[in-house]
């Protein structure tokens, strides 16, 4: 049911420390040799990083958890009060190739709603011995992955229109080019707008992330800069 659980310590780089090294690199501080030329910081990267940092700082003031998609670390984190709570590795982050697909993505996105909504499978009946005396049959919730099964593809749409589609590894290679997609597209039945971003995750991570997604969640995208 739960793979990979154990007491072995695992070092995970903090999502929220993403920008420190990158910023220093932008200043040329990561190359201590005197003869190395100091590269001018890339303005787009500096602004995107500043948007991400200020976004995190603002969200950290609230009592609600939020998401940080860290492109440099290839993960997405659920955070609260500037503390990374759970970090989910991502396999790939892709953007639609249309010219304006990434416009305004380097800002805080609020009001994220995921779809399809979680559907709950009914509990099962299990015999339980109560207080070491009698055995009763009681209704017990299924384990999370069975109680709230995650679809292989799901979407989070933010209030500003940014839509992100999440694919589990098993769900990778969606209907792109498939006859079904073509038919739906041809007849204009793709009622949802095309997502600007597509994120691929390992199936179990994608499932846990789907179940853990907070309602009306905010997202900050931290850039990966050279």
């Amino acid at each position: 049911m739960f793979r990979g659980i154990g007491r072995a310590s695992v070092v995970l780089a903090s999502t929220l420390s993403f920008a420190l090294a990158s910023t220093e690199q932008a200043h040329g501080q990561s190359t201590p040799t005197a003869s190395a030329p100091t590269a001018a910081p890339d303005a787009a990267c500096v602004v995107a990083r500043n948007n991400a940092l200020t976004g995190i700082a603002e969200l950290a003031e609230r009592d609600e958890s939020y998401l940080v998609l860290d492109l440099a670390m290839s993960n997405i984190t659920i955070a609260l009060h500037a503390v990374p709570l759970r970090i989910f590795p991502v396999l790939a982050v892709e953007a639609a190739t249309e010219a304006d697909a990434t416009q305004n993505i380097w800002q805080t996105h609020g009001g994220g709603v995921f779809s399809p909504a979680r559907t709950e499978n009914p509990p099962e009946e299990l015999p339980v011995t109560l207080e070491g005396e009698t055995e009763e049959v009681v209704q017990i919730h299924l384990p999370p992955a069975q109680r709230f099964p995650a679809p292989s593809t799901y979407r989070v749409t933010f209030a500003d229109g940014l839509a992100i589609e999440f694919h589990s590894e098993e769900g990778a290679g969606p209907a792109a080019g498939g006859l079904g997609a073509r038919i739906a597209s041809w007849f204009g039945k793709n009622s949802e707008a095309k997502p600007a971003l597509r994120i691929r995750m390992e199936a179990m991570e994608a499932g846990d992330f789907y179940r853990a997604l907070p309602d009306s969640v905010a997202l900050v995208i931290a850039p990966a800069c050279p």
Binding site: F2, I5, R7, S9, V10, V11, L12, S14, L16, S17, A19, L20, T23, A26, P41, A43, A44, C45, V46, V47, A48, N50, L53, D63, S65, L71, I78, L80, H81, A82, V83, P84, L85, R86, V93, E94, A95, A96, T97, A99, T102, Q103, N104, W106, I140, H141, P143, P144, P174, L179, R182, I183, W186, L197, D208, R211, P214, P223, A224, C225
Partner: protein, 212 residues
């Protein structure tokens, strides 16, 4: 004749579908570009100042991550993590609130057994805690609510340790370890014996608990 026309029409539709472009393409999301922004980008001193601000802000945020032990509870996936800074010291299967609703037919009082979300701190730590059963425990069992505290006390059901974090919520052990991983509690966080020992050994009064 009409059938032949329908046939030709169907063939044309099928051909159009097959020749129509596939789902629009995606490529790896790269570094930000100037045209990603609606406003002109800063240059010169303004840009340098922004880069300096970034360094300062990143350090401030990094300092917010607790250096000491803290507990993270993923209530939807029934997982508990014991973390220290950026290190995960334990990843355990737990049980959290069942979300079930209980109504007292006599008084119409109502309870919903959810695990609270947010940031908390361990307020009290007890060894071999005694469960002082609240009213709902008796109502749920269909038993009369006792009048004395002694009648409410239950020994042994909470395991070896109890970490109390407010409003009656506790991180504790369980007699029903086979149900770990399922949402079966009345809002408390249940751990297996060995995991509870590890949490109790590392945490104490004041330890931060983050529940999402």
């Amino acid at each position: 004749m009409a059938l032949a026309l329908y046939g030709v029409g169907a063939a044309l539709v099928l051909a159009a579908l097959l020749m129509s472009p596939a789902e629009p393409a995606y490529s790896a999301l790269g570094a930000p570009a100037a045209d990603d922004f609606a406003t002109p980008l800063p240059t010169g001193d303004d840009l340098a100042a922004l880069a300096t601000a970034n360094t300062r802000l990143a350090r401030t945020l990094k300092d917010e991550i607790p250096h000491e032990v803290y507990i993270v509870v993923d209530s939807m996936n029934n997982r508990v993590f014991l973390k220290r800074g950026e290190l995960i010291e334990m990843d355990a299967v737990a049980s959290t609130g069942s979300s079930k609703r209980l109504i007292d037919p006599g008084s119409e009082r109502e309870w919903v057994f959810n695990t609270p979300r947010g940031e908390f701190r361990v307020r009290e730590e007890r060894r071999n805690p005694v469960w002082v059963k609240p009213d709902w425990a008796f109502i749920e069992e269909g038993k009369p609510i006792p009048r004395t505290r002694a009648e409410r006390e239950e020994h042994g059901s909470l395991g070896e340790h109890g970490l109390y974090f407010g409003d009656g919520f506790i991180i504790h052990g369980t007699l029903y370890e086979r149900l770990l991983g399922r949402s079966v509690s009345h809002g408390c966080i249940r751990l297996g014996r060995d995991d509870l020992r590890q949490v109790a050994a590392a945490a104490g009064v004041g330890t931060r608990i983050f529940i999402f």
